[in-house]
Symmetry: C2
Subunit: 114 residues, 2 copies
Amino acid sequence: MSRYRQRMSFRHPERDAIRVDAVLSALGNPVRLAAVRSLDKDGDRNCGNLLAEIGVSAKSTMTHHWRVLRDAGVIWQHQHGREYQLSVRREDLDARYPGLLDAILAGAARDEAA
Amino acid sequence: MSRYRQRMSFRHPERDAIRVDAVLSALGNPVRLAAVRSLDKDGDRNCGNLLAEIGVSAKSTMTHHWRVLRDAGVIWQHQHGREYQLSVRREDLDARYPGLLDAILAGAARDEAA
DNA sequence: TCGATAGTACTAATACTTGCGTACGATCGA
DNA sequence: TCGATCGTACGCAAGTATTAGTACTATCGA
């Protein structure tokens, strides 16, 4: 009997269960904001791709951040073979909070330029 | 010699020093989001007014939240007699992150309605 | 001048966050 | 079938956030 729980597919909140304070809290962390910017700019990715790009050294650290973003309803994370496909939940976020994600991403781009 | 530092006027970040991740992190807390919604809806207030409205029991708790919002560049807080006038830094936020504050406030209103 | 009021400063307890090392399960490819 | 790979699960350590009690300063008004 293993000490480790068997991995199963993740729980993602329904669109209607997304809350703006959770979204803001999730994106209010520089590592997660950078991750979502990358996902939005360059399309879907697996976890390892982004790890190097964001400059985080430990896989387990990003596993934590993916969970926060997933639980807040910001990203989808689905298993695909032995990789996990990541994508921004743009349809859901834009439907529920029109203009929010674009304003945030534009703001992050502006901060970076300055 | 008192153990307590004398109060002086607060440091507010310059418009150019505001960072979107700090704004999101500040507004990613339900108490602070509610406070900013009240300020935006009903105009400038002092601290005590909002205390009751938001349902926070201790003044010192709100003192902490005002500091977080102030440091993030979300609110102005200026002494006026023995009260402190609070207001949303709408001009600065709208100039730096167009549409962000409106999207957030609309989102909070939507969440509340649901 | 003096009591009441507004709201901060400080302290502390508790809970949550972030980061990473290590153990592991599942899958791929040779 | 077996080693390499992907990325999670778990656990720990250090840091930060949240809340509130109490001490305090400054100001207002009678």
